[in-house]
Amino acid sequence: MSTPATLAINDYLPPPSGLGRRLRHCFGHRGFALGAGLLLLIIIGAVCAPLLAPHDPYAQDVMQRMKPPVWMAKGTWQYPLGTDKLGRDYLSRLLFGARISLFIGLAAAVISGLIGTVLGLLAGYFGGKVDALISYLITTRLAMPVVMVALASASLMGGSLNVVIVLLGCLLWDRFAVVVRAAVQQIRDAEYVAAAQALGCTTPRILFSEILPNLVGALIVVATLEMAHAILLESALSFLGVGVQPPTPSWGLMIAEGKPYMFFSPWVIAIPGVALMLLVLAINLLGDGIRDLILPDGRN
């Protein structure tokens, strides 16, 4: 006869093991599957941009200015997404622009992740005065208007890809620090940490080989959030003219360059905007999906 024991065992079966089955488990999550698929497409587009782009993204052709995309009345397959005010192919610029956005997002997430993780680790593990100081730093950072400080600094330093990356990296570490600090405070008193201490492991060793591995999941989730955040901020900086400089094909810059024409040809700003939205959407869905999959308690 069936006992509750068999029932309970079915409920608590570990997630399927083996890479294939685990992947199937992940892709059973609709948001994760959608985000991962979309992001993969964008990454392929960015990596293979030289192969996929029908034209040179920098090649100007004054005779072919402001050609509408193919689905509009005067659109042609020669320029599937139309051309900009200098006659450059929009699709090619979009593909190369994906590289800029992805690179900035990734680089800013890595830099801010390093800063935030180190600060969070120190604050969480040592507590006391160190914690008070770092918490104070976090509060201060949160009180700073990111957009304004980034704008002012980028403007003075002169906008460029590297400046934007460094700036965003130095400004977006707060969430990493908050999350890592809270997580470390929880783990710090766990028995395996006490065991490592009793064995005489050095503090750096405990931090990096006992504590850090437990934070990987949370770090990945925060990294996706900050990557999306950095991509949005870069687009805003470039839109205002202090970020990536022309003629580089940044999506934010494309919107800025299209702005004077938006009243008669709204597609010039709609296309790069939708591209931005899809990229950020893909990253956010992926992050939410990872959170649901690795932290089942944190759902909703």
Binding site: G31, Y136, T139, T140, L142, A143, M144, P145, V146, V147, M148, V149, L151, A152, S153, S155, L156, M157, G158, A228, L232, S235, A236, F239, L240, V242, G252, I255, K259, M262, F263, P266, I269, A270, G273, L276, M277, L278, V280, L281, N284, L285, D288, N300
Partner: protein
């Protein structure tokens, strides 16, 4: 309670000073101000003259202490570009930004809270999924692009609203929506999560066992408790909105402090930038303080001990 308040105020002041110090050093380390003010054509003598004129020849520490001393006397200095005192500039622009921020907050709350409540009550139905989709999409849209699309739709295509400026309240509608939508997903998710928690709680079961009507259970007993954390987040979001107003005000040519900051940044008008950053940090700090107080008012567990 008073001790707690004083402590919080003390920390708030320290944070404000630190923010000003950081932004001060950030701006000074970013490039040579004198060269920036003088422009590319200025000769080295002219630049030297500017340096002395604006006190930029003194050591950074001296400059900062001087500046801070002036700030404490509410003397924010004079704008390099506008030929007016920074204090007057900010005083004339601040009301516009504050009303924009307030309207944006109202937009965000009016959309986010009912949507969050509905999503929680109708959990796992299409309404819930729709609300979550709106949240995810909202988080993915760059605000300046959303603002431009609003202009294309409501001003250019439908002619319902003016494109830019700040003459009437109608001029504020699109900026408020563009600024407010960014806070909507966060507040909505928080409301939904809070409602789900509260609806599963024992005291909601008690309220139903008392024979209260479902509406009364929802609005009197559930919402009140679910909204306590939302208040704190709303205050913080209001602070973020003021910071983000620089982008939206620029797009809509609203003459608020965001636009002022942007004009000042573009012209290296250093005293103005410095003052605006400090002001926004101060407002943010005061807001978080207010949020704590409001929490205490709403939550008897904090208020009455």
């Amino acid at each position: 309670m008073l001790g707690f308040l004083l402590r919080r105020l003390g920390i708030a002041l320290c944070v404000a000073v630190t923010v000003s110090l950081i932004s001060f050093s950030l701006l000074h380390l970013s490039g040579d101000l004198a060269t920036a003010i003088g422009g590319p054509e200025a000769s080295s003598e002219q630049i030297e003259q500017i340096r002395v004129q604006y006190g930029l020849d003194k050591p950074l520490a001296t400059q900062y202490v001087n500046w801070l001393g002036d700030v404490l006397r509410l003397d924010l200095g004079n704008s390099f570009f506008f030929q007016e005192s920074v204090y007057n500039l900010i005083a004339s622009r601040l009301p516009i930004t504050l009303s924009l921020g307030a309207m944006a907050l109202v937009v965000a709350l009016v959309v986010a809270i009912p949507l969050g409540v509905l999503a929680a009550v109708k959990r796992d139905t299409w309404i819930d999924r729709l609300a979550l989709s709106i949240a995810v999409l909202g988080q993915a849209m760059p605000s300046f692009w959303f603002a431009l699309m609003l202009i294309v739709l409501f001003a250019v295509t439908l002619h319902w609203l003016p494109v830019s400026g700040n003459a009437t309240w109608a001029h504020f509608v699109m900026p408020a929506i563009a600024l407010g939508y960014y806070a909507t997903p966060a507040i909505m998710r928080l409301t939904r999560a809070g409602m789900l928690d509260v609806l599963a709680s024992d005291y909601i079961r008690t309220a139903r066992a008392k024979g209260l009507r479902p509406g009364r259970v929802l609005f009197k007993h559930a919402l009140r408790n679910a909204l306590i954390p939302v208040v704190a987040v709303a205050a913080v979001e209001f602070g973020f909105m003021l910071g983000g107003s620089v982008v939206i005000e620029t797009v809509f040519s609203l003459q608020g402090i965001g636009q002022l900051a942007w004009d000042a940044i573009a012209r290296n008008d250093f005293p103005v930038v410095q003052a605006v950053v400090l002001l926004i940090a101060l407002i943010y700090i005061v807001l978080t303080l207010l949020a704590d107080l409001l929490n205490a008012v709403l939550d008897p567990r904090i208020r009455v001990r």
